[in-house]
């Protein structure tokens, strides 16, 4: 796969699941992509849902997605068209949920403080590097067992193929 270009939405440290997708919707909105997308980042950035475009990426500080195990905190971003979340670090359940739902999550601490909302970055998954303003930032590939799940498009697709 060649390099892909993406517009950045930049956020800070410790963004939790409740501001990514409020708990009050967790038992009423689940499989409806439009409903999920409408409430994405509602209590963090009320302007996000209306302006996000397919292919955009989120770049954030440490511990993105801490808090609840709700999968909608991942699937609402997929529904909104978010291509990847790049962060200094991820909370562990969020990280697993992203892998299991097919959202690209990239730990790349070096780039985070170098970009702002609105800038364009280039992503090369094969070379495992991000390019921005002519500078390159490398990130670590996932372990092989886990990469199989991501490449299948999530754990359900993986099981459909392998059982």
């Amino acid at each position: 796969m060649a390099r892909t270009r993406h517009r950045v939405w930049k956020y800070g440290d410790s963004v939790n699941t409740d501001v990514i997708f409020p708990g009050k919707y967790t038992y009423s909105i689940d499989n409806d992509p439009a409903g999920l997308a409408r409430h994405a980042l509602e209590d963090l950035d009320p302007g996000f849902a209306n302006s996000v475009e397919s292919g955009d990426v989120i770049v954030a500080g440490r511990n993105w997605g801490n808090g609840s195990s709700r999968e909608q905190a991942v699937t609402c971003l997929l529904a909104a068209g978010v291509h990847a979340v790049v962060a200094k670090s991820f909370a562990r359940i969020y990280y697993r949920n992203a892998i299991n739902s097919g959202l690209l999550v990239i730990e790349c601490p070096e780039i985070v403080d170098q970009v702002e909302s609105g800038v364009m970055i280039e992503l090369d998954m094969e070379a495992a590097e991000i390019t921005c303003d002519g500078r390159r930032y490398a990130f670590a590939q996932l372990p092989a067992q886990v990469r199989e799940v991501v490449e299948a498009g999530g754990i359900i697709a993986y099981l459909q193929r392998n059982s």
């Binding site: 409740d18 689940d30 195990s69 562990r92 359900i156």
Partner: protein, 435 residues
């Protein structure tokens, strides 16, 4: 030489030993889900597996929105009952029985040596019984239903040694809020936390559950405590009540499965906490890690209080609130939601419910209550709530323009008597011991 978590994961993956960093496949003894069971079953239906592989290992509780506040929530519960019946799920607990994490302990569904994976972030809870337990997402639970297995990375372990004794008015909750403030919300991300040391002996079962439950707020994969005399006494007394016909063989199984850390186990980090040095703590809006001593925010006006949840809705929590409410009048609204029907029954028998109601408190149905903003007791814009729950994120209790402070239950009750954040001694007139 292995930590308790390593031993538990070795057993769950049928190995002699495991090392931190390894990816292992475990077969958990218990797979937990709650009001999210219908959503998980919709994911499960996308798989070729028509039947749950091990229906006797599933545990399902209705606890997040009970009794259902809307027809939509009622329909969700009805779908879950259908699924439970169709698949022959062994452990199903109806709306009103209580919060999953409290009920599964009381019912002996899980015990020492076992492993649990749950579709709930506070699944770290069960470690207080000497079990491995961790939270996962809905798709992973669907996969577990199909195969009975899941991959996990073996975590490094942080050892936390407790010494000394808590002063009156200081609780396990204060210990955890202080620790999360110091180490931050990702202080144990991807890691295990193991509590030990001579100070544990003085901590009740209810208090120990606070420790392992709250480690979810420090990012931990799991948290655990090796079983001791306190654990066994609680299990014997509780299972005798909830399983009158088979508590003996169940306890025998737990005794056989129980595991203990090696004395020379390898810990990635060590923390030592002197319990005598702790004081009441408060998490300020909008993060648990915004921790301050109560004394630093005392007299902050509050509009209402909430006592409940898997963190602080047990008998000792309601007793602490009743001790303050008894014979007094609450200036501010106080909602008390017992963590389980058993807790409610015991609190009524002990007279705590009468004390609280006489003082002006409202009692809710055992369950999660307004903790995550889907059920009765949600906040209005601008309201300030003092809560015994585990999270105070913006919008957590249903309204982004409300503010949530977290504390131990006695501080919640005292603050509702005073009308502002208050130390229990401020309203009882007793001298605050060293705080």
């Amino acid at each position: 030489m292995q930590t308790l978590t390593e031993k538990l994961l070795a057993r769950a993956s049928s190995r002699d030993r495991v090392k931190p960093g390894e990816i292992v496949v475990i077969e958990p003894d218990v797979v937990l889900s709650h009001d999210n069971t219908a959503a998980i079953s919709a994911i499960f239906q996308q798989l070729p597996h028509k039947r749950v592989r091990y229906p006797d290992r599933l545990a399902v509780t209705l606890d997040h929105a009970v009794p259902p506040p809307t027809a939509g929530h009622a329909r969700n519960h009805a779908r879950i009952r259908d699924f439970v019946r169709e698949q022959g799920i062994a452990n199903f607990f109806e709306a009103g029985r209580g919060i999953c994490h409290q009920v599964l302990c009381e019912e002996g569904v899980i015990g020492p040596g076992m492993a649990l994976l749950g579709a709930d972030s506070h699944s770290t809870h069960y470690g207080w019984l000497g079990a491995f337990s961790a939270g996962i997402g809905r798709s992973e639970v669907a996969a577990l239903w199909a195969t009975g297995q899941l991959w996990l990375r073996v975590p490094e372990t942080i050892q936390i040694t407790l010494a000394g004794k808590l002063h009156a008015g200081v609780t396990a909750k204060d210990l955890t809020i202080g620790m999360i403030g110091r180490l931050s919300s990702d202080g144990a991300n991807y890691m295990a936390v193991e509590f030990g040391g001579p100070g544990l002996a003085g901590l009740s079962p209810d208090s120990r559950a606070v420790l392992t439950n709250m480690m979810a707020e420090m990012g931990a994969k799991n948290a655990c405590i090796a079983p001791d005399a306190v654990t066994w006494r609680w299990l014997e007394a509780t299972l005798r009540r909830t399983r009158p016909h088979d508590h003996e063989p169940r306890l025998e199984l737990f005794r056989k499965l129980a595991l203990y850390p090696d004395a020379a186990a390898d810990y990635a980090a060590r923390q030592h906490i002197e319990l005598d040095e702790l004081e009441p703590m408060v998490s300020c809006p909008d993060a648990v890690e915004n921790a301050l001593p109560l004394s630093a925010v005392a007299r902050t006006p509050v509009d209402l209080g909430f006592i409940g949840t898997c963190t602080n809705g047990r008998l000792e929590d309601i007793a602490a609130a009743a001790d303050i409410a008894r014979g007094r009048r609450l200036r501010k609204r106080l909602l008390v939601v017992p963590a389980s029907a058993l807790v409610l029954r015991d609190a009524a028998e002990a007279g705590y419910i009468a004390d609280l109601v006489d003082a002006g408190a409202t009692i809710g149905t055992p369950g999660c209550g307004p903790c995550m903003g889907v059920h009765m007791g949600v906040l209005a814009p601008g309201e300030v709530c003092i809560s015994s729950a585990n999270r105070n994120f913006r919008g957590r209790m249903g309204e982004p323009e409300a503010q949530i402070y977290l504390s131990n239950p006695a501080v919640v009750a005292a603050s509702c008597v005073a009308g502002y954040l208050a130390h229990p001694a401020d309203v009882t007139g007793e001298t605050a011991a060293d705080s």
